[in-house]
């Protein structure tokens, strides 16, 4: 056994070094080079810019919208909300008192803003990442009357805008990207 162990040491150490160079350095660095050459916008975070070139966010990652004039994003457990340096869900159990209390408070707020009927679940639940970029179509439509009122635009035009923005991928759920929707809203002529 002693001789066997010695015979195992050289390959173990040499292979560790060789594979570390190949898989830990060469592979990710080569992929970075190729990705930067082929898909530079995607490889650098799919950043969305305004007309002046100022970065507004990522087309992929969600950001906080809390103001009345915008469609609001979902509750978020990432830091103080949509903190991309602290992605996280709430991890609250379905039976947790904290979840029931938070939901009751959120429901009361939506009711106060005039939302009637059953509330879409995503409107009052925190996402897994805390950075969910999307809303379900129902959760966006529920906000149409408020947004239209605050902006002084006809609600029918806002509703049509939401419907325009709905994406329906083959293997996925229908959803609306909130940053894209709110940018389109800002671009809507009065």
């Amino acid at each position: 056994m002693g001789k066997d162990l010695t015979s195992a040491l050289r390959p173990a150490i040499v292979m560790t070094i060789l594979f570390a160079v190949l898989l830990g350095l060469a592979y990710p660095l080569a992929m970075t080079g190729i990705a930067q050459a082929l898909f530079p916008w995607r490889a650098n975070g799919s950043l969305v810019r305004d007309a002046d070139g100022r970065v507004l966010g990522s087309a992929v990652v969600g950001q906080a919208f809390v103001a009345d004039r915008y469609f609001r994003t979902r509750p978020s457990a990432a830091g103080k909300g949509y903190d991309a340096l602290a992605s996280s869900g709430s991890n609250l159990a379905p039976t947790a008192r904290a979840l029931a209390d938070r939901t009751a408070a959120d429901v009361a707020r939506w009711r106060g803003e005039g939302v009637r009927g059953a509330l879409p679940a995503d409107l009052v639940t925190a996402s897994g990442s805390g950075l969910d970029p999307d809303l379900s179509p129902a959760a966006a439509l529920a906000q149409v009357p408020r947004v239209a009122r605050v902006r002084g635009i006809d609600a029918r035009r806002v509703r049509a805008l939401v419907q325009q923005q709905v994406e329906a991928p083959l293997l996925g759920e229908r959803h609306v990207d909130v940053l894209a929707l709110n940018r389109a809203l800002d671009a809507l002529p009065r």
């Binding site: 056994m1 060789l18 992929m31 966010g57 915008y70 949509y82 992605s87 159990a93 947790a96 991928p169």
Partner: protein
């Protein structure tokens, strides 16, 4: 539940089954050491590695030598990772200026990635430098996966060896040749393509640090970037599961949409399912592989049905407040209920542990399925390599039980199963309940353990049980409310991961060695057929009874009690 949801689930199964044979065929070429088209490019790399390390790839190793070399390599890799993590503060590739990882966390993480568990007591974006992600973690994602597949090959050879020549009697292959070929001719080329697919779909791949920006509404946001895609690819394909970011595959940068989600789920299962075909081909009867896959799919689809049903039914406590629809707490809108439920069952049936939704917030019974999948030993497709060798341990017990019933010496694919193999199989299977239940019990009574759970009541117990189950089964997913970055949990979970990996592997290799030394006996009229529905049913039964029964009392204390509280409307 919706029609569209079931369409997704059935599409997933259909594509998976279509992939099984091509993947299995490629794996079989590597198992045999055949030349592939990729040898033209990577052959010189392979030979160079052997020359520098002084390896003769043709030298057969007996099981003891195979195990010893495998352990030596894993310990060397473990030490490298520990060193890089501790020193990351002074190493390059650290644009965020992160400090060195504290000792207990570096210990836990090094074991976690070496054992293919990828349990993460840390939040990636706030803890790991780019260099650590690449050099300390990505490398394990390849090599722990390659090791798993190599070990499965070793066991296949035990079954497949017909009349071994005298000098290499009991030989089960060469560990170095297996690991190097699997890495160079399967994992690495697949990841090159996969990485580019992910980048094209929106996963970042850069060495830059975070982008600071002002949002449309005027708030500040800091978006961390990094070499995400190259790690994401092998994280899924190697059933590792360790995310670049804390939120893992729920994070939009790791998993931006429905298509990436679908491909991620497939890539978790692809190699594990392919290995069932490889096994059948290796023992000269592909029906043997098909019977195994059938048993796996029965268990898998049962799990999916329960979790999807429960998550779609939603949380009655929220419905009472005027909320409608399924349980969306912890889930992303772009995946919805069906793709989140399916992902959670895939990732725990295999030993992946990546998550696209937070399992801690699943309904009690929806979360019971992932927990139970792991407690069965992750033999439902399972981790790359680890799934099939774990499954074959159950197959050995199944033919043993069948043999007891009819009073004949049991045999499986032409090899007699005798007392030695059965004892070793039981030893390997007993590790899991001992580690899980023992350490959970300890943590449920001592103050260091009780400080961990976020949620109160039965769900808090579920969090502890889930952590040790995930660690011992080398899964790595979590009921993430548990605060595990403490010396207590880092230490004990590290022990559980080590036990769950290597204390299963060593008896398994001993079985491989013992089988390899046996002469092949062709199937006779009195042999129990191991390809038909009867054997599939027996296998499912043995897995549920032996694997599952041990854990029922603990499940009653956790998820079942939690479920009863939920339907009674009791908060805790």
């Amino acid at each position: 539940m919706t029609l569209q949801g079931w369409f997704l689930i059935l599409s997933f199964v259909a594509v998976l089954l279509a992939l099984t044979k091509p993947v299995g065929w490629w794996l079989f070429a590597l198992y045999e050491g055949r030349r592939t088209p990729l040898h033209a490019v990577l052959g010189p790399v392979e030979r160079g590695f052997y020359r520098l390390a002084g390896i003769d790839p043709a030298a057969e190793q007996g099981w003891r030598r195979y195990a010893l070399h495998m352990l030596a390599f894993n310990v060397a890799l473990l030490l490298l990772t520990y060193a890089v993590l501790r020193l990351q503060g002074v190493l390059p590739g650290n644009p965020q200026g992160l400090a060195g990882v504290p000792p207990h966390l570096a210990f836990n993480t090094a074991i976690s990635f070496t054992t293919n568990t990828n349990w993460q007591s840390y939040a990636g974006e706030a803890t790991m430098s780019h260099l650590s992600q690449m050099l300390a973690l990505t490398i394990h994602n390849f090599l722990s996966a390659a090791t798993g597949i190599a070990l499965a090959f070793a066991l296949f050879r035990g079954f497949a060896r017909r009349e071994a020549p005298k000098d290499s009697r009991g030989g089960i292959g060469n560990y170095w040749a297996d690991v190097t070929r699997i890495t160079l001719y399967l994992l690495l080329p697949a990841c090159l393509v996969y990485t580019l697919f992910l980048v094209a779909a929106g996963v970042p791949q850069t060495l830059s640090g975070a982008v600071d920006l002002v949002t449309l509404e005027g708030a500040r946001q800091s978006l961390p970037l990094g070499p995400v895609a190259s790690q994401e690819a092998i994280k899924m394909l190697g059933t590792n599961g360790g995310g670049f970011f804390n939120a893992n595959s729920a994070h939009p940068f790791e998993n931006p949409g429905a298509l990436t989600n679908f491909v991620q789920m497939l890539s978790i299962f692809a190699i594990g399912a392919g290995l069932t075909w490889t096994f059948g081909r290796a023992v000269g009867d592909t029906r043997q592989g098909r019977a195994i896959l059938a048993a796996m799919m029965i268990l898998f689809l049962s799990g999916v049905a329960v979790t999807y049903w429960q998550e779609a039914a939603g949380n009655p406590l929220l419905h009472r407040l005027g909320v409608e629809g399924g349980n969306m707490e912890g889930k992303e809108v772009r995946f919805g209920i069906a793709a989140s439920a399916l992902f959670s069952v895939v990732t725990t049936a295999a030993s992946c542990g990546a998550v696209n939704a937070m399992l801690d917030s699943f309904t009690p019974l929806g979360g019971l399925v992932p927990l139970f999948n792991m407690q069965l030993g992750e033999v439902v497709v399972g981790g790359v390599g680890a799934g099939i060798y774990g499954f074959l341990l159950f197959a050995i017990l199944a033919v043993f039980v069948a043999g007891l019933m009819v009073g004949r010496t049991p045999e499986y694919v032409g090899k007699k199963i005798e007392a030695r193999e059965v004892k070793l199989a039981v030893l390997a299977i007993a590790v899991l309940p001992l580690a899980i239940l023992g350490l959970t019990a300890l943590s449920s009574v001592l103050p260091q353990g009780l400080a961990g759970p976020l949620n109160a009541g039965p769900h808090g117990f579920s969090e502890i049980l889930y952590a040790f189950t995930s660690a011992a089964a080398n899964n790595g997913s979590a009921f993430a409310g548990l605060s595990a970055a403490t010396p207590w949990y880092d230490g004990l979970l590290g022990v559980a991961m080590w036990l769950g990996r290597f204390f299963v592997i060593v008896p398994m290799l001993a079985i491989a060695g013992s089988l390899a030394a046996k002469t092949y006996t062709p199937q006779g009229a009195g042999s129990f057929p191991t390809t038909g529905a009867l054997f599939v049913g027996l296998l499912v039964g043995i897995i549920l009874i032996l694997g599952g029964l041990t854990f029922l009392p603990s499940l009653a204390l956790g998820p079942v009690a939690d479920h009863l509280a939920m339907i009674r409307g009791q908060l805790s």
